[in-house]
Symmetry: C2
Subunit: 130 residues, 2 copies
């Protein structure tokens, strides 16, 4: 059986593709952080929603996202996901990212994404080159 | 000023090098998970201590570890660290890993490592090749 977090990520990918951003942000914790691109982060559901709207607009409402592999490491109510995230859009070449996601389980037993960094270690290159 | 987690990781590296494993495991949460190598995880301080003792023995008490770059992403009491971790030992070539660490801040305000995966996305390759 798939880890419940794998199912949540599949739901998130589907919500991105159909641009259901209300359903999407419900999968994030209230103070979640999203890396929009290396060096640019937003925090909190309203800002995450706006960022996904802007991304959809930028890619002319054609974003496709799927996971080509995933490992979940769990410690109590915290989990780290290492994923190969494949992002594509009309007239943009498909890219595969070594993504890192952190999930937290709340007191009701529900996992939510607390840190969404689909760029993985690309952040380090961005930080090094200022 | 360095992020407090950067200082904790520097303390952990120093404790590994001088083989002070009691000081080292105090930097981990009680139910922390350590990836010993891809596909082999241990959980909890006593098991983490034993794993570091075995690693020290395997490398003939000559392990050196340092961070060659680091980014910290923080969301409330959870933080994701993306690091370039350089590990070397006598008669072993130096390796640089794209490491991923998750820290949690406890009610006393103290950060501890909950998930220690110095192998980053190498876990995916290991999972794919069984």
């Amino acid at each position: 059986m798939a880890h419940p977090i794998e199912e949540l990520i599949a739901s998130a990918d589907a919500a991105i593709v159909r641009e259901d951003f209300d359903a999407l942000v419900d999968l994030y914790s209230e103070d979640a952080v999203l890396v929009v691109k290396p060096g640019v982060n937003v925090a909190g559901r309203p800002s995450i929603l706006k960022a996904f709207e802007a991304i959809a607009e930028y890619f002319n409402h054609s974003v496709q996202v799927r996971q080509a592999g995933m490992v979940v490491l769990e410690s109590g109510d915290t989990a780290l996901v290492l994923a190969r995230t494949v992002v594509s859009a009309a007239r943009f070449p498909s890219v595969t990212r070594n993504a890192t996601y952190v999930f937290r389980r709340d007191s009701g037993g529900r996992w939510r994404c607390a840190i969404d960094n689909s760029y993985g270690h690309e952040l380090l290159a961005a930080a090094e080159h200022g």
